[in-house]
Amino acid sequence: MFSQPSQFGYDKATVIFSPDGRIIQVEYAREAVKMGSTAVGIKTEQYVVLAGQKRTFELIESADKVFKIDDHIASTFSGYSADGRALLQRARIEAQIERITYGEKIDPEVLSEKIGDYLQSFTQYGGVRPFGIAVLFGSVYERETSLYFIDPGGAIFSCLATAIGSNEAAAKETLKKGYKRNLTKKAAIKLALDALKAAIEEDETVLIAEMAVIETKDGLVQVLSQKDIDEILKT
């Protein structure tokens, strides 16, 4: 009976539930995420690695895939890049609001909740559409690593390792097989690349990745280009 949500218009607005309790617009937003280039996040005892595939188009310089939110927080997203940039700008502002309000770095859990709350508001009010992105936040805060995944509906999950974007299932499978809590920096970087490779396997394209690594040693975000990654893997 409910196999065709559009039949009764339940998919036309985020303020309308379908009779089986779904908000169809949010589910459509999840589909948009699946069209975005793949991104993965890994949290180990000492390192947080965020990595994403940089899609290349002829005659267009590829856009950034991982972003620094504050000294200690990095982020990546899959989905509509314009939505992503707007949301990350919001995250950067929230991080600075925390510094002005309390004179301290923001707790990544608090930042994730604030961004989750913001995304949620686009599922409950009329005249808007949800963000067509899923976001990962990676951070070292008070010497602890953290990795958060936020979906377009605003739900937040703390993860050990996860993948978002196109062919995320294949990437997750690789992560599941290779993940250990005590991976070295190099091994974590390698696992992230393998997961991305698994996701783009079918396209037969060369992987160009961008990465952010945060170590508990200094807790600072380092953004790495494909060249930087190659350097590290060589040693």
């Binding site: 309000t101 309390y102 004179g103 301290e104 859990e109 909740e113």
Partner: protein
């Protein structure tokens, strides 16, 4: 009446002292509320608890101070509920600072001089503020009409890393000088200690034993 005149009428002559010891922060204040030459109250509360590990002393316009305390208590409680942790003392000080500065920039400052004391993972802290919203972390500080007398005593007697008992003696001595020489200060003393176990108010007996008066 001009606002300034009202402030003169309502402004509370006071002496409060905040002092950092080795393992605790100490806040003491007198209990007299004055309106010009009138003693409006002899049991005014000038040291207020903010949460389990911080407190604030107030001097100046009582209504402004009480309003700031109400807002701070609410903000701190929300912080603790949201984040399942206590704010550091410096974070509380930052909240107070922003509130004072915001009001100052609205051309009608809160007419208060505040001291925040607390204990967190990094140990005890004392923070002082002015009406314009400046903030500084101190070993000791005094505010109110009797503060010049208290400053003299603290300047001479304060030492780093004092025990709780030594610190209380110095703080009470400073307050006693102010009570003797400042007409707007008097009517007994309220003293508070904040250490690793949290906020604790001293009994009258304790205060007398340490050289204070009630």
């Amino acid at each position: 009446m001009q606002p300034v005149d009202i402030e003169k009428q309502l402004a509370k002559g006071t002496t409060t002292v905040g002092l950092k010891c080795k393992d605790c922060a100490i806040l003491v204040a007198d209990m007299r509320a004055s309106m010009g030459n009138l003693v409006a109250s002899d049991h005014a509360k000038k040291v207020h608890q903010l949460n389990d590990f911080s407190a604030i002393t107030i001097a100046g316009l009582v209504s402004d101070a009480q309003y700031i305390i109400d807002i701070m208590q609410a903000q701190i409680r929300l912080f603790e509920l949201d984040r399942k942790r206590r704010p550091k003392t410096s974070m509380i000080a930052n909240l107070v600072k922003n509130m004072l500065y915001g009001q100052y920039r609205a051309y009608f400052p809160f007419y208060v001089q505040l001291i925040v004391g607390g204990w967190d993972q990094k140990g005890p802290h004392i923070f002082s503020f002015d009406m314009a919203g400046s903030l500084s972390e101190d070993d000791w500080f005094s505010s109110g009409s009797g503060s010049p007398m208290a400053f003299g005593v603290l300047e001479a007697m304060y030492e780093k890393d004092m025990t709780e008992k030594e610190g209380l003696k110095v703080a009470l001595r400073a307050l006693k000088s102010a009570i003797k020489r400042d007409t707007a200060t008097g009517d007994g003393i309220r003293a508070v200690v904040i250490d690793s176990k949290g906020f604790r108010e001293l009994s009258k007996e304790d205060i007398i034993e340490l050289g204070g008066i009630i």
